[in-house]
């Protein structure tokens, strides 16, 4: 498996962030994403960055690993930065490169936007890095619960999500296994003209679909055999419960929000 491909793949751990209620984490991230757009001064950005970096530090996940996971996003961040340098024409001309005048306003905006972008991605990937997919689905089901009143199929949606999430690693393993088997039979997925490479996908996709359908059928049968009949009256094995740590972090985060609004320019 290509590890850098998975942005925020769950890393088991024992940190306070891992132990938090997933609903608290989702709530914090939801408001973080909004508040980031209100930050417009060094101090307000600083408060948010401090909160994000502190969270990362507490998880004990090696920063190098997180940075590697963010690899595909670095490109976007740098691209945004350069775009701003080139396009924005506010403030004074600082210097010029290759005939382009770089304005002070452009530099400030470029840094601000890239930082915003970086913080957004960092904090959201922190959720998936420290929370099992199943916990995330549980949290979403719990948060969406009120929608049940308007007949929104909350439980079914959550079930679909958790089944898909559950089978992503399985499908990836299967893909790897089948592509290895076909590579051994002389299929070349990596080189050659585009047309040939597209043709090489057929021996990969057909077995993959066959096994996915078979798996779905078996799963449905196993669920029925065990008496599954939808969400009505169903209880949970792991009840979500807010604990002291959740309240503490929520309070801390409220202070961060207040700080951001007080220090806005």
């Amino acid at each position: 498996m290509n590890s850098s491909m998975v942005i925020g793949q769950y890393v088991p751990g024992d940190s306070p962030v891992h132990h938090m209620d997933p609903r608290a984490k989702i709530t914090i991230i939801f408001f973080f994403v909004i508040v980031v757009f209100f930050a417009n001064s060094v101090a307000s950005y600083g408060a948010l960055a401090l909160f994000a970096l502190l969270s990362v530090g507490v998880t004990k996940i090696p920063p190098r690993f997180i940075a590697k996971g963010l690899k595909p996003v670095w490109f976007l961040i740098i691209f945004t930065f350069i775009l701003h340098l080139v396009v924005t024409k506010e403030g004074n001309v600082l210097f010029s490169v290759l005939g382009f005048d770089v304005y002070s306003g452009a530099l400030i905006q470029g840094v601000a936007i890239s930082l915003r972008f970086f913080l957004l991605i960092l904090i959201t990937s922190l959720l998936t890095l420290t929370t099992t997919p199943i916990a995330i689905t549980d949290a979403i089901e719990s948060i969406l619960h009120p929608l049940k009143r308007i007949k929104f199929p909350v439980h079914e949606l959550a079930l679909m999500m958790s089944i898909s999430l559950r089978f992503i690693p399985t499908l990836m393993q299967e893909t790897e296994k089948i592509s290895k088997a076909q590579a051994s039979r002389g299929v070349d997925f990596r080189t050659g003209p585009i047309k040939e490479r597209l043709k090489a996908i057929v021996p990969l996709l057909v077995p993959l679909f066959v096994s996915a359908f078979k798996r779905a059928e078996e799963l449905a049968m196993a669920m029925e055999a065990r008496g599954y009949q939808g969400g009505e009256g169903r209880t949970k094995l792991r009840e979500l419960a807010l604990r002291k740590i959740d309240y503490m972090v929520l309070v801390l985060f409220t202070f961060v929000i207040i700080a951001v609004f007080l220090t806005r320019a």
Partner: protein, 288 residues
């Protein structure tokens, strides 16, 4: 083809929290024409090892040489296609690789990729479908209409049709009925001798290792734990038990009879009946 592992280590997902050392400092040689069994508890690195034999994985450290192709840590392997043409791999549950509309097309897939002429392919399809014990009337049927065991045989035929010089088998008979298991192993054994192949057989069956292999490699936690001729390796009951492996029943039986009756029978691939006759003869006071 000769196969040489020189100080091979393989690490899955290096430099990540999921880093896993699957092979460590593995060195051994497999002379051309031998039948080697690789045994070891689940997760000991057997499948990782055999994926080095046709360049699906390249060593993280050390080097692997197969015939005149060398896979070295840190350098891009060349001639991969030529290597894969010569090394046929039957994976665990090979029936998962079937995809064509007809059995004939699926068996032809490998040889076609390696540029074999159409006439020749037709002939190979006929040969291999019979070798795996299916009738050539089935060639026009879809591989997905077959039973699991039949699908397995078609998949195996697809690898054999490449006419490889080295045959790598990763538990090729897992999940088959006992009769089917024996038929398929006997078929591989026959081919091994007829075509003078080099065969590497990963197996959980100590019986198979004893019956077919000239040489056994025992893996444990990515290390080579033991190696040697089957009869030598299976003498070390305690050492094998320590890593979760058993000795074949017939060897166990011989040892037990020796202990119980104070005999000194020696197992040299006799059948149970021959062994019994030998024991009876000795017990009645005869000396051999």
């Amino acid at each position: 083809m000769d196969i040489t592992f020189d100080n091979v280590s393989y690490i899955y997902q290096p430099n990540s929290p999921f880093e896993h050392r699957a092979l460590e400092n593995l060195s051994f040689q497999i002379p051309s024409g031998s039948f080697v069994a690789v045994i070891g508890h689940t997760g000991s690195g057997k499948s990782t090892l055999i994926q080095h034999l046709n360049g699906l994985l390249a060593p993280t450290h050390g080097s692997v040489t197969i015939g005149d192709v060398m896979l070295q840590a840190g350098s891009k392997p060349k001639n991969l296609k030529a290597l894969r043409k010569q090394v046929g791999v039957v994976f665990q549950y090979p029936e998962h690789q079937l995809f064509e509309e007809t059995i004939e097309k699926d068996i032809s897939f490998g040889p076609l990729n390696f540029g074999v002429q159409e006439e020749e392919i037709k002939q190979r399809v006929q040969e291999t479908i019979e070798a795996v014990g299916l009738s050539s009337d089935m060639l026009e049927r879809s591989p997905f209409d077959l039973s699991g065991g039949q699908m397995r045989r078609v998949a195996i035929a697809g690898v054999l049709a490449m006419n490889p010089r080295v045959l790598v088998l990763d538990e090729p008979t897992a999940g088959l009925d006992p009769k089917g298991q024996r038929e398929i192993m006997d078929m591989f054994y026959k081919l091994h001798h007829e075509k003078n192949l080099t065969t590497v057989h990963v197996t959980h069956s100590m019986e198979d290792a004893l019956a077919y292999a000239d040489y056994v490699i025992v893996m444990h936690n990515g290390h080579m734990y033991m190696q040697g001729k089957p009869l030598e390796v299976f003498k070390e009951k305690e050492a094998l038990n320590k890593v979760g492996l058993d000795v074949p029943e017939i060897i166990e039986l011989t040892t037990k009879m020796n202990k119980r009756f104070g005999l000194s029978l020696e197992y040299k691939k006799q059948s149970v009946e021959e062994l019994a006759a030998e024991a009876a003869h000795k017990l009645k006071g005869g000396s051999v």
